[in-house]
Subunit: 527 residues, 2 copies
Amino acid sequence: MSQIRLYDTTLRDGTQAEDISFLVADKVRIAEMLDDLGIHYIEGGWPGSNPKDIAFFKEIRNISLKQAKIAAFGSTRRARVKPEDDDNIRTLIQAEPDTITIFGKSWDFHVREALRISLEQNLELINDSLVYLKQHVGEVIYDAEHFFDGYKANPAYALQTLKAAADADVDCIVLCDTNGGSLPFEIADIIDDVRKHISTPLGIHAHNDSECAVANSLTAVEHGAVHVQGTINGFGERCGNANLCSIAPALTLKMNRPCMTEDQLRQLRIASRTVYELANLVPNKHQPYVGNSAFAHKGGVHVSAIQRHPETYEHIRPEKVGNLTRVLVSDLSGRSNILAKAEQFNIDLDSKDPVTQEILETIKNLENQGFQFEGAEASFELMMRRALGTLRHFFSVLGFRVIDTKRHGDDNPLSEATIQVKVGGKIEHTAAEGRGPVNALDHALRKALEKFYPQLKQMKLLDYKVRVLPAGRGTASITRVLIESGDKNSRWGTVGVSDNIIDASYQALIDAIQYKLVQDYAADKKE
Amino acid sequence: MSQIRLYDTTLRDGTQAEDISFLVADKVRIAEMLDDLGIHYIEGGWPGSNPKDIAFFKEIRNISLKQAKIAAFGSTRRARVKPEDDDNIRTLIQAEPDTITIFGKSWDFHVREALRISLEQNLELINDSLVYLKQHVGEVIYDAEHFFDGYKANPAYALQTLKAAADADVDCIVLCDTNGGSLPFEIADIIDDVRKHISTPLGIHAHNDSECAVANSLTAVEHGAVHVQGTINGFGERCGNANLCSIAPALTLKMNRPCMTEDQLRQLRIASRTVYELANLVPNKHQPYVGNSAFAHKGGVHVSAIQRHPETYEHIRPEKVGNLTRVLVSDLSGRSNILAKAEQFNIDLDSKDPVTQEILETIKNLENQGFQFEGAEASFELMMRRALGTLRHFFSVLGFRVIDTKRHGDDNPLSEATIQVKVGGKIEHTAAEGRGPVNALDHALRKALEKFYPQLKQMKLLDYKVRVLPAGRGTASITRVLIESGDKNSRWGTVGVSDNIIDASYQALIDAIQYKLVQDYAADKKE
């Protein structure tokens, strides 16, 4: 069986998604990462459509990739121009990619309505564009846009368009479910028929509008496709493209069609998260294989089974894709979850210890107030240590004030904070400015505490999230702040809840600092 | 062909998801909505597992539903107890549901490792639990847990467990892909084999760990299943359950197996959003059929095609599921997007007008600064009107100050704001308190402006979102605030961006108020 080739279009089709836009530097970074991951083709953009994409192709030529080929995307020539006189085709060649992919129309309706040419002219235009490109670049791929819709409307004509491409000796013909409307059994039947007429290697390009993009891609492979297009995390226009983060492990681990090495597959989760980070999007927790919840267990029955035999409730070993089994803390959870957490934190806790019950009740209370410890494990650990009476008292805050002032004409308000802390017997009263009230408060707090705990200088605030919980449930609306902090060794999340955003932020900040001091104190004791 | 029955388990399996928990009142509200939607079965919970679920069954008995049956979920009896002496089974009957669904083990590995009984004993336990339940309730459904994994490991035994259920004359046998590891072609082959041995109506219960839950469910129907279990929005443990919001329209609109009326299908989007709202989760924009981006078009080529023929890039008419076509504003967009937006806002704009180019450049600039108008269309409209010079000047702010103070022992900081506004020639200087600095600023601003514009009293702040854009891209980190406001007629979104959260919030607040005044002024002029 031929090896499956993965063709990534995160940098082109992925950026068609609402919310997604990459700087050229981001695109280069993603390309290097995809190369490390073993992706065979990286579609960098449509050089004819915008200057950002041209810049990418220029920059990527200076990078030596391990194995990935760089592909440029474009369209067949315009109706009344020769290929050599077509600006779009010229720009494609000038981008100097390893591979050129162009799309053409398979659906008679589009030929008439969008191109406004005859069906015959469309066949010529597909064929001569491809013939011309084959003379100028090592590898040419043909994307048959709207192929499945076109086939459903007029199968004979849709097949003729593929023949026009096959006759140009293209290296691969990719069947596109452009509108994402097809279902897996339709894909199977149509590809079976295509293979009776076309011997060129086939590929699949699926969109997720029917929530079937991954299934459609895997079904296409099962029916003979050898080239799969998709994006990291399924980014893409409307409902997204086929998600390579779900396709690669299914092919490799379940379908015996390995397309990544074990080492590469283990990088899958980090690759997924890097792309989210560069796109500045919050990762989808529930994403298959790589999401934070993909191997997270909440039900008490599941948790105790998982601890004995992970295969009871896990379809693959999460480590294979760089993920982890997690046990969640929640109001559905039982004693076994709390004990599993304690073990993770190296806290000695016995299931018969009444403090276990107390912790369970504290969690329920706090969750009712709007707290959520998923994503704020440091706050959870501090809460456990508080219940056990093993939390060291490092400092107390006597009070603070934050003032934001803006006068007409100022660009930004001025934010300043004053704070009084007590460490041992000493009182420290400081003031600081900041970008915004929370930042000012953070500065003042650190300034006061760093005198006593200089290691706080290593700690950084990495992420700050605010969630306003909806009102109308009988109580006033509530703000939940999640803070992610880090030092050179680790990252940790803390949470604060209040009807006042400053207070919620303050709680999460205090927990973040306290956690840092607890960790360092424990490390010092060990040495 | 038998009609497909939809079985919703949002209230039971859905709540196994990380982050999801419903109050009893929420559960009742969701059940009524599912009934309106035409869902055939509503699984309310596992009465044996927690008091919240018992409370739901009690409350739902007082509600008269149109057609949905209420199902209670539980397990087969314990190993060494008779069905009539099993607490779990007793509690199920006491809940007085229309239908009882119990699960049993199909996988020999689980029988040995989890139940620790013989394979034969497991068959007895399945059979006599079901026989007993059939005597006490009108309809009994059997969920064959881990059926597909069990079949793959030991097909003969997995089929025997189904026979044990079929012999008890159950109304439906549901094949569960509990770990979500199966692929659609496996589902197809296995169901084909099951149908050779079992004549009881079959159902499917799929999880999304392979990103194939919807495809697997539809494939099961294609191969003869007549009962489909799933949840609204695909909520569920780990990667979620099969998403009924994608299954129902595919069955009805694409597979000619209608399971909802046209009117019910049109409520799909609102049902999806209501469940997100009650679960207090941000809706998934890219969700097929019902998401905000599901019919959103960004690429310039697509936009002009869509305006002529929606079927060119839309797999179904969005109105059929209560959704809408949207045209996005972004740095990939061209003139045609701006013109489409102008038309939507009833702004007269000509494609040749140089102001169109100016608006495009302004958008690019603002997007570079971190602005995002997706979700903040009111700010976008104001920006267009500003560029055209048709924005009325309603007020100006001369300055403000916000002070938050907390002393040791206080529950919450005290937040107060002072503000100076100028309307016409008059200066108004006011002060107000609030829950948090933004709330205080909002109060002070309204207090000052309501004197001149009493209609602002009808306006409410509905949602407030803060996004901290990551730093490390050469500039300092930036905060983006999105505010959603509403009055009795409509809702609108505004945006502010600054390195100071107070300033970003202030910008979005000012836009929200200005938008309200613009709308009311236009409405007054019409009357």
